[in-house]
Symmetry: C2
Subunit: 202 residues, 2 copies
Amino acid sequence: MGLRAKHKADRTERIIHAAAQMFRTLGFDAVRMEAIAALAGVSAGTVYNYFPTKGDLLVAIVSREVEEVLAAGEATVTDPPPDVVGALSQLVHGYYDHSLHYLSKDMWRTAMAMTIQSPEKPSSRNYVALDGRLQGQVVALIAALQARGHIRAALDPIAVGAMLFHNLDALFRMFVTTDQTLEALRAEVDRHHRAMAALMAV
Amino acid sequence: MGLRAKHKADRTERIIHAAAQMFRTLGFDAVRMEAIAALAGVSAGTVYNYFPTKGDLLVAIVSREVEEVLAAGEATVTDPPPDVVGALSQLVHGYYDHSLHYLSKDMWRTAMAMTIQSPEKPSSRNYVALDGRLQGQVVALIAALQARGHIRAALDPIAVGAMLFHNLDALFRMFVTTDQTLEALRAEVDRHHRAMAALMAV
DNA sequence: CTTCAAAAATGAACGAACTCCATTCTGCTG
DNA sequence: CAGCAGAATGGAGTTCGTTCATTTTTGAAG
């Protein structure tokens, strides 16, 4: 990698870190692009050379978090606990527990809003693709449990996996739009998992 | 109602109709508040005496649509078809089929985005409450089917109803964020309903 | 019918994201 | 090393949503 490319990568990192820090401490709306640029040590115009809009900058930050969570989920999918509730909970709690590590609820809300409102933007497409991979992990987990004979052979793993994912997604959305605690979120999703596990039992 | 109150109601209607028409034909972002005000026959400032922001104006419009859909759903809940898939489909197709009557996908997306990003605003709270009532209808339907002995007595109707609602909501969000047709949306949700009906069967 | 305080409407001004662009700087290449 | 292409700069300009001081309208009291 030439010096030029390295500078580019450095600047991208600096901008992302500066923005992430400010978004988290001040809230998305309260942060001016000038301030991000200043903290990153570049000019405002330069930020726009890297990210088309303030929203895209946020979505890029959030997408990094999702990628980390995805990587962490692989372990559960490839080697799931034998009980259905335990397997689902392990995967989903992994998602939830990491969600506020680098990000605030405000950042999640704003990023979700951006990707819904403008699904055609490249940053949104990327985010949606990551979401699809999360859904794929849930489907894969259901299929794995089914292959091991822990849930009924007759059920449609894709449809059921999709429903479970949509559910955990909705509960997470509720979490970030209220002052619900992580603990309460976990309890709620576990309740749903128990209900589904009872239905899926062989 | 005094003259003053009547004028107020008239203006509210004119503003809502003007905004709805323009949002639908031009798209939310392309419509300037000036233009809505002009079509409604008032000044820009006046619109702000009636709706705090452009987004709140949109959410008010969308909320009206949800209220109509809610009313239409009552019939299915109080007297559901005996088969589980038929009952779920009748309710949910009712929701979906009316969704584009007055609104565009763009309006749905933007309204969803607004309510997620700013859940504390009065207009968002109202919208979320309507969503809760939709979820309540699904739960009530499951409970009714259960009371009639069409699905297992052992299952948790609140958890299962919540999951079904979250699922139909997610599928609708996918619908409005892509160019999927209503037909394809119906087919997809029916597939999920069949999968769930099989699990819930006595 | 006149008065007047409260309510409502008005539109000019403001602020911030974003665009544009002439200029400057920097690292690659012949 | 020269000079060129690509990138950063930063300030001026645009656009809208939003705000607010001012003006106009309202309807009840005298």
